[in-house]
C-alpha cells in the first residue's frame, strides 16, 4: 500500500472514530475508548509521515472517484505535506494521550468526543489534498469541527460569542481562499494542483493570490489584524483542543500559505516578501504585548500564539524576498527557520496549554490573580510547565532558541538584497523580532511567577493537587521533545532540507555530518551554534558549582519566615499580581495609546472608603478596525433593508437596471 493510501485510511479511521463517538458518547467508557483510538491512529500516521519525510517511504498520489464528478478527489503526499502531517499527528497523539486523563473531567463528553477525531481528520485531509476542491472542503470541515469544539461549553455566553466571531472569521477566510483558487485555476477551471502549477499567470495575478491567501490562511493562523477571533476561540475550547487549535491548526494554515504561495502561485513581485514581513513583524510584537497584558492563563497563551505565528511569517517573508532575488542559500535558511519554528511552537505551545489545562482541572481557575504557589502542590506539572516557558522564551539550550537563532542568521544575510525598500525594512523587522523575544521572556516570567510561585491567592489554589498520570505523560513527552529538538537541531534541519530544495532551490549544508552535532547555517558566515555542548556546559558547570559548595561551604540551612525587609505582610494580596507585574512594561510601551485605560478613584480626605484602581486593556485592532467595520455593515444592511418594501413596479425597474448595468460591465470588460 502506498503511503498516501495508508494516511487516507488513517483519516478514514479517524472519521470512523467520530462516528463511534456519536454512537456511544453517553456511555461510561466512551472517553477512554475514543481517545485511545485516536491515540493509536495518530501515532501510526505520525510514524508513516516521518518515514516519508526522511525518505524511507516514497511520496505518492491517489485519485478517489468522489467529489466533483469530472475531476474526482486528488490526494498526494510529498516532503512538505509529510512534514506538516508529522506536526499534526505528533500534536494529535499528545493531545489524545493528555485527554485520556483530562477528558474524564468533562461534564458533557458527548459535545466533545465526536468532534475531536473529526477535527483531526479534517486537518490531515487539508494537508493531503491535491486539488482545490478537496482542499477547500477539508478546510471547511476542519473549521466547522473546531467551531463545534469551541462552543462545546455553550452555557457560558462568552464561549457563544467566541464561537460566533470564529464562524464569521472562518467564513471570510474560506471565501478569500476560494477566490484565490479561482484566480489560480483561471478561465479553464482546472482545479488539480498539477494543472495549477503548470499554468502561467502574470505576477500581478500571483500577487493578488498572495494577498487573498494572506487573508484566508492568515486569518486562520492568527496574523494581525485578522487575529481578533483567536484569543476568544482558542481558550474557549477544552484545554486539549485549545492545544490542538493553537499548536496545530495554526500550522495547517501555515501549510496552506506555503503550499499556495511557494508552490502554486509561481513567480511573485518583489514586494510580496515585504508585505509578508510587515504582517509577520506586526503580529510578533502586537501579539506578545497583548499576551503580557492578559491575566487569563489560556488567553495569554492564545496571544502568544499570534506572536509565534508572526515569527514564522517573518521567516517565510524573508524566504520570499530571498527567492525573488535568486539567493537560494539564504532563502533555504529563512525557510528552514520558519519550518523549525512551526515544529517547535507546536511542541511547546501544546505543552503550555496542557499545563494550563492541568491547572484548570486542579483549581478550576484560569485567572492568574486567583492562583499562586502551585509549585508546592503540583510539583511535576510545575516543572514541565517551566520547561515549556523556557522553551517559548527562546532560552538555550531548548528548542525555541534554535529557530529564533536561525531567523536572526537569515536576517543578517539580507543586506545583499537588491531592493531598497527591503534593505530599510529588514533591520526594523530584526529589531521587532528581538523586541518580541525579550517581551516573550517577560510574559512567561509573569505567567510562571504569578501562577506557580509565591503564595496561594485563593482557597482553590491552596488546596490543589497533582493531576492524573495520562496528563503528566503527555506533558513529559512534549517536554522531552522540546529538549531533543533544542540540543540536536541538526537532524531536524536535515529532515526539512528536501522541502527547502523543492521550494527555494537551495538547502542548508548537511548538518548531521558536522562535528559534535553543531549547526552551521551558511558556510560563508562561519556562525555556528551547538545546543548539545551548551547544554553540557551549563549542566557541568552547575554541577561543579554544587559540588564545590557542598564540599567546602557550610551545609547549615534553616527555615524561617520571609524577610521582606523586615515587614512581611501575611496577606497574599500584598504580592505582585499579574497586572501589577506588567505595569512597568505597560507604561513604557502602551502608555500613550488607547489600548489601556487606567482609572484611580481616590476618595476625598476624611472619607474612609478605600481608593479603587481599575484597569481595562483592550485590543486596539478590535476597537479601531473591527467595530467600525461591523458598524459600516450594519448601516449598509439597514439601508438595503428598504429594498424589501418596494412595489412590484419598482422591483421590475430594479431588475431591469441591474441587468442593463451588468451587461454594460460585460461589454466594457471584453
Amino acid at each position: 500500500m502506498t503511503s498516501v493510501a495508508f494516511l487516507m485510511l488513517c483519516a478514514a479511521a479517524l472519521l470512523g472514530a467520530a462516528a463511534l463517538a456519536i454512537a456511544c458518547a453517553r456511555t461510561h467508557a466512551a472517553t477512554s475508548m475514543v481517545y485511545g483510538t485516536t491515540l493509536a491512529i495518530t501515532v501510526t500516521a505520525a510514524l508513516v509521515s516521518i518515514a516519508v519525510l526522511v525518505g524511507l517511504a516514497a511520496p505518492a498520489g491517489l485519485v478517489l472517484p468522489i467529489g466533483l464528478p469530472w475531476t474526482g478527489a486528488h490526494f498526494r503526499i510529498d516532503a512538505l505535506s509529510a512534514f506538516f502531517l508529522a506536526v499534526i499527528n505528533v500534536g494529535g497523539a499528545a493531545a489524545s494521550l493528555y485527554a485520556l486523563g483530562y477528558g474524564e473531567h468533562e461534564d458533557e463528553p458527548h459535545r466533545v468526543l465526536p468532534f475531536f477525531p473529526a477535527f483531526l481528520a479534517g486537518m490531515n485531509l487539508v494537508v493531503l489534498a491535491n486539488d482545490a476542491f478537496s482542499y477547500l472542503l477539508s478546510w471547511e470541515f476542519m473549521s466547522l469541527a473546531s467551531w463545534a469544539l469551541v462552543i462545546a461549553h455553550h452555557h457560558d455566553p462568552e464561549n457563544r460569542r467566541a464561537g460566533f466571531v470564529y464562524l464569521i472569521m472562518a467564513g471570510i477566510g474560506t471565501l478569500a481562499l476560494l477566490l484565490g483558487f479561482g484566480l489560480l485555476a483561471g478561465a479553464d477551471g482546472n482545479y488539480t494542483f498539477e494543472a495549477i502549477r503548470a499554468g502561467t499567470r502574470t505576477p500581478l495575478t500571483a500577487a493578488i493570490v498572495l494577498v487573498l491567501v494572506l487573508i484566508g490562511a492568515g486569518s486562520k493562523a492568527g496574523l494581525v489584524p485578522l487575529h481578533a477571533w483567536l484569543p476568544l476561540a482558542h481558550p474557549a475550547a477544552p484545554s486539549h483542543v485549545s492545544a490542538l487549535m493553537s499548536g496545530v491548526m495554526t500550522k495547517v494554515a501555515v501549510y496552506g500559505f506555503v503550499r499556495i504561495v511557494f508552490d502554486l502561485a509561481g513567480p511573485l513581485p518583489w514586494w510580496s516578501g515585504a508585505l509578508v514581513l510587515a504582517v509577520g513583524g506586526l503580529s510578533a510584537v502586537l501579539g506578545v504585548l497583548q499576551a503580557l497584558m492578559q491575566d487569563d492563563t489560556k488567553r495569554l497563551l492564545a496571544y502568544s500564539t499570534i506572536e509565534n505565528i508572526g515569527i514564522v511569517f517573518i521567516g517565510l517573508g524573508l524566504a520570499l524576498a530571498f527567492r525573488t532575488n535568486a539567493m537560494e542559500a539564504a532563502a533555504a535558511l529563512a525557510m528552514t527557520a520558519a519550518l523549525l519554528h512551526v515544529l517547535n511552537h507546536s511542541l511547546f505551545k501544546s505543552l503550555l496549554f496542557f499545563g494550563a489545562g492541568a491547572v484548570l482541572v486542579a483549581t478550576g481557575e484560569r485567572n492568574m490573580d486567583r492562583l499562586g504557589g502551585l509549585i508546592h502542590r503540583m510539583p511535576v506539572t510545575s516543572f514541565l510547565f517551566l520547561v515549556g516557558c523556557t522553551a517559548i522564551s527562546a532560552l538555550p539550550p531548548l528548542n525555541g532558541f534554535v529557530s529564533e537563532w536561525l531567523t536572526f542568521q537569515a536576517i543578517l544575510l539580507s543586506p545583499d538584497l537588491s531592493q531598497w525598500a527591503l534593505k530599510i525594512m529588514v533591520p526594523a523587522i530584526g529589531g521587532l523580532l528581538a523586541l518580541a523575544a525579550a517581551l516573550a521572556g517577560a510574559t512567561f516570567v509573569k505567567m510562571f511567577g504569578i501562577a506557580f510561585l509565591g503564595r496561594p491567592r485563593s482557597n482553590e489554589a491552596a488546596t490543589a493537587g497533582e493531576v492524573d498520570r495520562f496528563s503528566l505523560a503527555a506533558m513529559v513527552l512534549l517536554a522531552l521533545l522540546c529538549l531533543i529538538t533544542g540540543i540536536v537541531p541538526g537532524f531536524f534541519i536535515d529532515a526539512v532540507a528536501p522541502i527547502t530544495r523543492q521550494f527555494t532551490g537551495g538547502a542548508l549544508p548537511l548538518q548531521a555530518s558536522l562535528p559534535w552535532l553543531t549547526i552551521m547555517p551558511a558556510a560563508t558566515s562561519e556562525s555556528s551554534y551547538n545546543g548539545l555542548l551548551v547544554f553540557l556546559f551549563i549542566a557541568i558547570s552547575a554541577m561543579l558549582a554544587v559540588w564545590a559548595i557542598h564540599r567546602f561551604a557550610s551545609h547549615a540551612i534553616r527555615r524561617g519566615p520571609a524577610w521582606d525587609c523586615g515587614f512581611p505582610d501575611p496577606s497574599p494580596l500584598t504580592q505582585y499580581s499579574g497586572s501589577s507585574f506588567a505595569q512597568p512594561i505597560r507604561r513604557v510601551f502602551l502608555a500613550r495609546t488607547s489600548a489601556t485605560h487606567e482609572e484611580v478613584a481616590m476618595p476625598p480626605p476624611g472619607d474612609t472608603r478605600p481608593a479603587r484602581f481599575s484597569l481595562a486593556v483592550s485590543d486596539p485592532v478590535w476597537t479601531w478596525l473591527y467595530l467600525p467595520f461591523a458598524g459600516a455593515i450594519e448601516f449598509a444592511s439597514l439601508q438595503l433593508n428598504h429594498l424589501q418594501f418596494l412595489t412590484i413596479r419598482r422591483y421590475l425597474s430594479l431588475v431591469f437596471f441591474s441587468l442593463v448595468s451588468l451587461l454594460l460591465v460585460l461589454a466594457i470588460w471584453s
Binding site: 525579550a438 516570567v445 505595569q583
Partner: protein
Amino acid sequence: MELISALLVQMMQMLLVLAAAPLLTGFVRKVKARLLRRRGPPIIQPYRDILRLLKKEVVVADNASWIFRVAPYVIFATTWVAAALVPTFATGLLFSWSADLIAIIALLASARFFLALAGMDVGTAFGGIGSSREVMIASLAEPAMLLIVFTMALVARSTQLSVVADLFSTFGVGLRVSLGMALLGLIIVAIAENGRIPVDNPATHLELTMVHEAMVLEYSGRHLAMIELAAAVKLLLYVSLIGCIFLPWTLAGPDSPTAAHLAGFILYLGKLAALGFMLAVFETAIAKMRVFRLPDFVGGALMLGLLGTLLLFVSRSL
C-alpha cells in the same frame, strides 16, 4: 599537542574570569570610594564577602520552593558559561564555535529569567517589584544588545565572537560610524544589564529604588554568595566584551607563542583596570535616574543599535 594547549587556554580562561571577577568589583568600589574622598574597603573585600557568606548558614523562607534553591546555581552556571565564551586575553578558545554572540546574550537572558523567577518565589512585594522592573529594563536592553550584535556581525559577516575579534584586530576595518554607535549602545546596555548607576544602584539599601537587590532580598549564605559571584562575573563579561571587540589588539592569536599569551594576559589586566576606572568615574559623576526615565536612557541604546544596523544595510562600508 595543539588540542592540549587549546584546552589549557580554555580552562585558564574559565578560571581567570572566576578569579578576576571579584577583583574588578572590588577595584571599582575602591576607586569610587577614593573619588568620594573616602578610604573605602580593600580591593579584595569582595573575596572576603563571598568567603564569609559561604561559611554562614542559609535562611530560607518557609514557603520557598526548589526554584529558590536551584536558581543561584543556574544563574551562576549560565553566566559562567557565557563569560567563558568571551575571549579575555587570547582568541583561540577551544569551544568558541559552540555558541556565538547571540547565544551568549541568550545565556545571560536565561540567567535573568531564573533570577526574576527566584525573586517571585517567596511571594513578597519587594521580590515582585524587583522582577517586574528587571524584565522591563531587559525588554529594552536585550533587543538593543541584539541590534548592536547585528551591527558587528554585518561588518564581520559572522556572529562568532572570535571571528569578530580576529577581524577587528587587523586594522582593516577602520573607523566606522556604525561601530561608533555600537560602542555607545554597548556601554549603555552594559550599564543597564549590570545594574550600575544611573539604572540601578548596586550599593543601595533604599528599597523603592532597587531592582537587582530587591530580587535577591530573601537570599542569604551560600546562595547569596553564588548570586554575588554571578553578578561580578557578568560585570567582567561585559568589560571583556567591550575590550575584545573595541580594543582587540592585545589579544593573543590562536597560534601565537607563549610570550604573546603572557603579554595579552598583562594587557588584559590593564584593560580591566582602565575600563573599571572609567566606570567608577562615570558612576560618581551622575545621579541615579527615576525608574520611568530609564526607557529614554536604554531606549537610546536601542535606537543606536537600530541606526547602526540600518547604516550597514544601506552600505557595508559605513
